[in-house]
């Protein structure tokens, strides 16, 4: 009996501690969104104005003097195209790596996995030069293509494809399905939850991939939201209102996507690591 009681007490106190800690995690998001409706002066005032009592759209008006729509479009296109390519490329490769026996399979797989542990900095300079010599410098492709090369998606889809029932694939073959038919009509419908998880995961991470965007994009109209805000912050660090308006526009769509698809998303990052 006494034991149950201490357990309850531990639970109660740790839940209280946790709830307090969550404030630190919620605060940046809360502050960015509410701050975007304050004036520059209000957002720097002390004691802080915790809630915008006189909301204004002034920061947004000022923000849109920058090519924010273009930045938004760029972020969106980069994330969307990266997502589509990663899903296609990874589901095809993941399927054969999980289900087919072929020469060199172990070598291919080992190379893919060990590359994931490599720091991206080793490839930093060569990547920029490669993209330049392909004629993609300062275009959206410069950010999209290297992201598709990263083998995480292949690894994830291999994990998902392991669950495909071998008899079903065998039956499809006997019924005279071509390999492509089997993939499109039998494999894809079964691994669809995996593809969905990978899609959301890829969309969110390319939206937020500040590093790749920073080294690849330079001209003002080619920037992404992340890069645009960072540039504004470096240029005029005291325009808090504008920065927060920008940060809000950058964060809201992605937070919404996350909230809508939280289940698939968590499934996605779990799949790669935890054996069921």
């Amino acid at each position: 009996m006494g034991q149950k009681k201490t357990l309850g007490l531990f639970d109660l106190s740790s839940m209280t501690v946790l709830t307090l800690i969550t404030l630190i995690f919620i605060f940046p998001f809360y502050w960015v969104v509410t701050g975007s409706f304050k004036t520059d002066l209000q957002s720097q005032q002390l004691p802080p104005i915790w809630w915008p009592t006189q909301p204004t759209l002034g920061s947004y008006v000022a923000l849109f003097k920058n090519p924010v729509l273009a930045w938004f479009g760029n972020s969106f296109m980069i994330s969307l195209v990266t997502m589509a390519l990663v899903c296609i490329v990874s589901s095809m490769a993941g399927y054969v790596l999980a289900k087919k026996r072929f020469h060199g399979k172990a070598i291919v797989f080992t190379m893919l996995v060990s590359a994931m542990a490599l720091p991206k900095q080793v490839v930093l300079v060569p990547l920029v030069q490669l993209v330049g010599s392909l004629g993609f410098k300062d275009t959206l492709w410069a950010v999209i293509l290297p992201a598709v090369g990263w083998p995480f998606g292949v690894f994830l889809m291999k994990q998902f494809s392991e669950t495909l029932p071998g008899e079903l694939l065998e039956a499809a073959k006997i019924d005279g399905c071509t390999e492509m038919d089997t993939f499109v009509r039998i494999v894809l419908p079964i691994v669809k939850p995996g593809v969905a998880a990978l899609a959301i995961f890829t969309f969110i991470s390319s939206w937020n991939d500040y590093f790749l965007q920073l080294i690849m994009l330079t001209s003002r109209n080619k920037l992404t939201l992340q890069l645009g805000i960072a540039t504004m912050q470096a240029e005029f660090s005291s325009n808090y209102g504008q920065l927060m308006a920008g940060a809000t526009i950058a964060a809201i769509p992605i937070v919404l996507i996350f909230l809508l698809f939280q289940k698939s998303f968590t499934q996605g990052i779990t799949m790669g690591a935890v054996k069921g």
């Binding site: 357990l7 740790s14 946790l18 969550t22 995690f25 919620i26 605060f27 940046p28 502050w31 960015v32 957002s43 720097q44 002390l46 490329v89 095809m92 490769a93 054969v96 087919k100 072929f102 291919v108 190379m111 893919l112 590359a115 542990a117 720091p119 991206k120 900095q121 080793v122 490839v123 930093l124 300079v125 060569p126 030069q129 490669l130 293509l145 598709v148 090369g149 990263w150 083998p151 292949v154 065998e170 006997i174 390999e179 937020n208 500040y210 590093f211 920073l214 080294i215 992340q226 890069l227 805000i229 960072a230 940060a247 964060a251 992605i254 937070v255 996350f258 939280q262 968590t266 690591a273």
Partner: protein, 310 residues
């Protein structure tokens, strides 16, 4: 009919030679992998090889000369590199244990709660990751601002400090300020993984131990902890690799300052390549970092796999 019987025969003969690898299967497999392999070869393998190759050259905008290991020798007498290496290792040694222990604590507390509470907490701890480094940093820069920031304001009101602290410009505090932000933006994924892993544990073992009178610490130490060891290994390795590559936070919060006291190797590679245009030298730093990460990962793997019981 005839075709059908022939395919049947082919299938039968294939199942008879199950162990042998079919040539046609190999060709089909590589065709399916072709897009992935092309992207991988072009945008990962090729840059890695050129990166290693050019690290043996004095390579800038107007020069490309073979100098052997000279770049590597220079690294270790370069005070900025040594400083950055030290900062990077410090960041890893300080932040990784905090991230792993904190995620574990959070997960143990919430994994048995109902699914609403679980999703809520999981979502909240993931929020900074989703919000994106750039947006999160906008807020933290204000929090740490010596004059208009809320941190100094609160501390002074509470009487904890008497003069403003330059959180990001004072070398005693800057690295800790970065660790603080790094932790809040890094625990999301480990928590998701730990919750899944704890949820997958065999509940009957835990109940049996509880009936036998084990207290909750004993249950954790002898059943849950060994059970989630593979996840811990994964979390530790991934968090270490990510922390070694810490860049965005540094670039956005301090730009490596004051006087390179928060510079990481990753930041220095960027700085060397794109501000000083010393490409070969930058690549040699990248190679050294890759080796350091390799050694760390291997050591962790060795250490933790000894404790993993499958």
């Amino acid at each position: 009919m005839e075709i059908a019987s022939r395919t049947n025969e082919a299938t039968r003969s294939r199942s008879r030679h199950r162990r042998a690898i079919d040539k046609r299967e190999t060709i089909v497999s590589y065709l399916f992998m072709l897009p992935a392999i092309l992207f991988f070869a072009f945008f990962v393998i090729y840059p890695i090889l050129t990166g290693i190759f050019t690290s043996f050259f004095s390579y800038s905008i107007d020069e490309f000369k073979f100098i052997g290991l000279q770049n590597y020798f220079n690294l270790f007498i370069d005070e900025f590199f040594v400083k950055s290496l030290r900062n990077t290792v410090f960041l890893v040694l300080a932040a990784v244990p905090i991230i792993v222990l904190f995620s574990l604590f959070v997960s143990v507390v919430i994994y048995q709660k109902n699914s609403f509470v679980r999703s809520l907490f999981r979502g909240i701890f993931y929020l900074p990751v989703v919000t994106g480094t750039v947006s999160v940093v906008v807020v933290w820069k204000w929090i740490f601002d010596p004059l208009s920031g809320v941190l100094n304001f609160v501390l002074m009101k509470a009487g904890a400090i008497e003069t403003e602290i330059m959180w990001l410009a004072d070398k005693r505090y800057a690295i800790w300020a970065i660790i603080m932000v790094l932790v809040t933006t890094s625990v999301g994924q480990p928590i998701v993984l730990y919750i899944a892993s704890l949820g997958n544990l065999d509940q009957s073992n835990i109940e049996a131990a509880e009936i036998d009178g084990a207290n909750s610490w004993q249950v954790f130490r002898h059943i849950k902890w060994p059970g989630i060891m593979p996840t811990t290994l994964y979390v530790v390795v991934i968090t270490t690799i990510n922390t070694f590559q810490c860049f965005s936070l540094i670039q956005l919060l301090t730009s490596g300052g004051p006087n390179y006291n928060t510079s990481t190797i990753m930041f220095l590679v960027y700085d060397t390549a794109f501000r000083y245009f010393k490409f070969g030298y930058a690549n040699s730093m990248g190679v050294v970092l890759a080796i350091v990460i390799g050694i760390f990962s291997l050591a962790q793997f060795k250490f933790f796999s000894n404790n993993v019981e499958y």
